[in-house]
Symmetry: C2
Subunit: 191 residues, 2 copies
DNA sequence: GTCTATAACGGGATAGAC
DNA sequence: GTCTATCCCGTTATAGAC
């Protein structure tokens, strides 16, 4: 892994652990094992590095989610698989957490990938749910967009509860709860 | 409002807007219109002031929530009223956001009120839902604790989505979604 | 490309005068 | 109780040597 690469990876980790405001260029350099001058040779500064890091994290997140969304199975199966996927719950969502950082949300360039990733997630989930509804797998009274927002919110909020409790339990309960609520709306698909 | 009071209020605002790491003693003093020495006379330092601020915010949050939980009406009515209560959505939850601050979560004293408040919220909601289940208002297949966690998570996650989008729409959708999912589980209470 | 100064600035707090 | 001065350190770079 070359220097620029190591810098981006260190930045990704630190943004996840400590957020943008809590992450200093010095900390990035130390974790990457890269000198001061070297960092400023490859990147214009902290915002530039953060942008590269956030973009990569966003891309990775979409790719991982799309794996579940485009898998075989019914719509509900795929949404369920996405909800039950293994996650680093206590670390939270590396994209969602940036939402709390005023310096990120105040910079249009840094904000864009955060906004787009979460919007894409909701859209994509809504598509999957709409597909399930068309196929008769899902109660037609449900609004796919609303349920999609709920699903993403349960995950994001589940992270918050888990971090507060320093336990995965409330996260798991929140997931179990929404799956339980969803169950009554599932029907056998017309084959 | 006296000096100590103004300091606490300013701290509460800044913690909400910028988080713990993003809030400096100087910023607190300026917003409160209080001098350096004055602040250190009334409080031992930043953590001490933050503790007072967080405790007050936590107390306020519980009091507001309890208003809805102990109101008249069915269990589902009260949970619905809580979910639909007017909120400063784009500012997010002043307690939930602290969850993302490693300096807060790393300090047991600062962390405690965050943990306790969110735990209390889930417990209290679970009690209301359990009551509704006993009265036959709610499908018995639902686990009150799980649904309670889901409800709190939808709110916390809804804030995240709203802040990312800089719009209340995804928040409102997430709430609408969970209410829609809940609807199928409601039955007429045995009177 | 990477290194070591250097620097302007803010964070977080202490000291002592008033 | 409040004010000003002072302090040390970390942040976020820039400059120029190697």
């Amino acid at each position: 892994m070359d220097t620029a690469e190591r810098l981006v990876e260190s930045t990704r980790e630190l943004l996840w652990e400590r957020g943008y405001t809590g992450t200093s260029p010095k900390a990035i350099q130390q974790r990457a094992g890269v000198g001061q001058g070297s960092m400023y040779h490859h990147f214009a500064g902290k915002p530039d590095l953060a942008l590269a890091a956030i973009r990569r994290t966003a891309e990775e997140m979409r790719a991982l989610a799309e794996e579940e969304f485009s898998a075989p199975g019914t719509a509900v199966d795929r949404v369920t698989a996405y909800l039950l996927r293994e996650r680093d719950v206590l670390k939270g969502c590396p994209i969602g957490r940036l939402t709390q950082d005023p310096d990120v949300m105040g910079d249009p360039a840094l904000r864009a990938p955060v906004d787009e990733t979460l919007a894409w997630l909701r859209e994509r989930l809504a598509e999957v749910l709409a597909e399930g509804r068309e196929r008769g797998e899902l109660n037609t009274v449900l609004d796919p967009q609303a349920v999609a927002a709920t699903v993403v919110a349960v995950l994001q909020g589940g992270y918050v509860l888990a971090r507060a409790a320093d336990s995965v339990q409330p996260f798991d309960q929140a997931i179990a709860g929404v799956l339980g609520l969803l169950a009554a709306h599932i029907s056998m698909p017309r084959t």
